[in-house]
Symmetry: C2
Subunit: 447 residues, 2 copies
């Protein structure tokens, strides 16, 4: 019995595997594993291996590949072969693929499809990458209110092979208004003649078509849904989003948050496959921009050059003070970014939270001042120790407050709170830290 873990996951055949081993693998392994294996092959060999997969599961394997691999393959496979695959793909996956094809490839593909598939692709592919439309599928089962449980099960039997989820069906009136939803086991357990209207859950939870993919993922997680129906302003069912696609979208959002928080511009490619050029371009922008932010710290230092010349031991503590302020700020910023992303905290909580943050930051600052005070005595005597301790107390507080406020401010400005908040906080608190440090030094050391 195959007990899976993350490391043995896949049990993929090696590059030197025999033809028989590969044939067995293509025929019997999970579609996800076959897709992973084909993606690892050199580009030139991929289309042959895909065409070696049984036509019945080829679309399924293809649909499990990354969008980048799908697009590459679409360029090397004959349009007729591609069309045969696309016809059998999940509606949402093929609309995504279509959106990523070059215009010529789109045209070639459409010419090979029948009218129903063309219309479905056109309808689903008009949505932007980030909208709920891009997650939505049209493969759902539909019932009418006046069907009996027995009729409904028969109807599901006819629709089943084409639907992505059969566990929940949607009840529509003649104009396709969403009237209710019903779970398969309620139909199975019900008396044959009970009407669907009596069994269905009326007014099910639904999302509007202008919701973001993040909103939809949150709704599905909050209410533990298998699928969420999406309706237009008139309540007409446009499609459904399934839990697995929502979970993937949530993961993608999270990866973006990690990237943004560390000043990497968002990208969706797998780290192992991303090109050097791509990674360079995603990383250089903020790195270079932050240089200009740092000029403020430099200007502060230039202004206090005489203080530095008189007490050069002050420079000893400079990295320590600005890093501590930056670390405290990064802590607050990250906690806030995450709390805003999970919905634990909303914009209006800012006022309550800033008060509490002040207490926490004061406690942190006082502790840090106590830690650094003996170091000050050791390096520069009690005067320097006092300057360093006071500075530490203040910069930890200021770093924390800046760190907590910046995500709210970005959010207020309709920007993603994760955007560069870590390094922006560091840069701002650095500049303030330099000013505070040398101002206190100049005053207290009577320079």
């Amino acid at each position: 019995m195959p007990i899976y873990d993350r490391h043995s996951m896949g049990h993929l055949p090696s590059a030197h595997a025999s033809k028989d081993t590969i044939a067995t693998f293509l025929a019997s392994a999970h579609a996800v594993d076959v897709a992973t294996w084909i993606e690892q092959l050199p580009v030139a060999e991929r289309s042959q291996q895909l065409l070696d997969v049984d036509p019945g599961r080829r679309a399924n394997v293809f649909g499990k590949m990354s969008l980048a691999a799908q697009t590459d393959l679409a360029g090397t496979v004959a349009a007729a072969d591609l069309a045969r695959i696309v016809t059998r793909m999940d509606a949402d996956d093929r609309a995504d693929l279509f959106n990523h094809l070059a215009p010529d490839d789109q045209k070639a593909l459409m010419a090979e499809l029948d009218e129903a598939d063309r219309a479905d692709i056109r309808r689903l592919s008009v949505h932007g990458d980030r909208s709920v439309g891009a997650l939505m599928t049209s493969d759902y089962a539909v019932l009418a209110e006046d069907m009996t449980a027995k009729d409904a099960l028969a109807a599901l039997g006819r629709q089943a092979p084409d639907t992505e989820t059969i566990y929940r069906s949607y009840v529509l009136d003649e104009s396709r208004h969403l009237m209710g939803s019903i779970r398969l086991h309620e139909l199975v357990l019900a008396d044959d003649m009970t009407p669907v209207a009596a069994l269905m859950e009326a007014d099910p939870i639904s999302a509007s078509s202008d919701a973001s993919r993040e909103d939809v993922a949150h709704l599905i997680a909050r209410y533990d849904l298998l699928a969420l129906p999406v309706v237009d302003a008139d309540g007409i069912l446009l499609g459904i989003v399934t839990h697995d696609d929502a979970a993937d979208a949530m993961q993608a959002e999270m990866t973006e948050d990690f990237q943004k928080i560390s000043t990497v511009l968002p990208f969706s490619q797998n780290m192992r496959q991303a090109s050097i050029r791509l990674l360079y371009s995603k990383r250089i922008v903020w790195l270079a921009l932050l240089v200009f932010g740092n000029l403020f710290s430099g200007a502060g230092i230039a202004y206090f050059e005489e203080t530095i010349l008189a007490y050069v031991s002050l420079v000893f503590f400079l990295p320590l003070l600005i890093d501590s302020s930056g670390n405290a700020g990064a802590q607050s910023a990250t906690l806030m970014v995450r709390a805003l992303a999970t919905g634990d905290v909303v914009l209006k909580d800012w006022r309550d939270l800033i008060g509490r943050e002040l207490f926490i930051a004061a406690a942190l600052g006082a502790t840090m001042a106590l830690v650094v005070f003996p170091l000050g005595i050791w390096r520069g005597g009690s005067d320097v120790a006092l300057v360093v301790g006071m500075t530490m107390f203040l910069v930890v507080i200021i770093g924390s407050l800046v760190g907590m406020s910046l995500p709210f401010l970005l959010s207020r400005l309709k920007l993603d709170p994760a955007t560069a908040s870590g390094p922006l906080v560091t840069t701002i608190s650095d500049a303030l830290g330099v000013l505070i440090y040398f101002s206190i030094a100049t005053t207290m050391l009577s320079l």
Copy 2:
């Protein structure tokens, strides 16, 4: 029709709502929303409102509350009332609650439960918080291989009210070995007399009981599963993990990664509810520890005091250089932490990635050197510009390499790669940066 979005989510009654409004809300709102509303009330009022909920849905509402709120409530509700709720809760949720109760409350609760519930709680509650055991539920439907489809549906009809998921049932032999799994719609669509053995998927994907909750969440996401069976070393079914619990576990892991990456020790409380004391204790540890890391930078500065006194304009560039190095390092570290967490990258990829990182870092360093060179000319002339440019080139490369390697190293040492990687990278690259900067300066400015 209620179209939900994140902001209108819940439609919770206000504090001044009439009794009728609240009664309607308790009776008809989604259990998740009722739970959220009760949690927002002052602690003293919560148990009364919970007991106002219809007994039929009380356990469901209670199960949707946070573990902290459940534990608080368990202390204020009579043991007999609590037992009535616990009897109807999902098996995994109540085992979790049990683990969080004070020993006396555990004893009082157990005394009120019947033997089957006691045994179930004992069995599920032996698992640690992080193990798959803590996610596992015993509420699944069981079939035998020699049942017909008709028998199986009848058996499901009997088991249904007690199972968390009915969409997939598990086929066991007499010793409870997991033989296969079967989807409800396959039974519904099959001929009445077809045996279960012919319909089931043999050897379904399963996890071992020593898998981590992260592993299980990854398996469920990778294979788009509704539920994952967990077996012991002999292949005996211990329980199942459902997709919604796995998604919650994944979210919790992600929040932890965000905390760790910003040097906050992990905690699971909601940011708005976490106490000042808790937040202080989670944040101070790494802040204070990193002070000692920063002493290395300080020592470097002390060693080069004469260089600084001779060219005090060098201090102008110090924050800029160490921040740039730290930012580049944080970028690499975050990308790696995330790629290791999603499984995009595994330990053995280190060798390939370090080579590529060297190229990217060199390109980033060269660009940054070009950006900073004119600033060097402006502040200190061409000599200083050359020193600053060369230093920038080197520190960006070193920061990136340290940033990329540290998560691998932590992972190698069986530590979580997210642990403090951001600030640790900053601290290490700061110290190296100071050394490089002033060494180059001392050599090139012939001091």
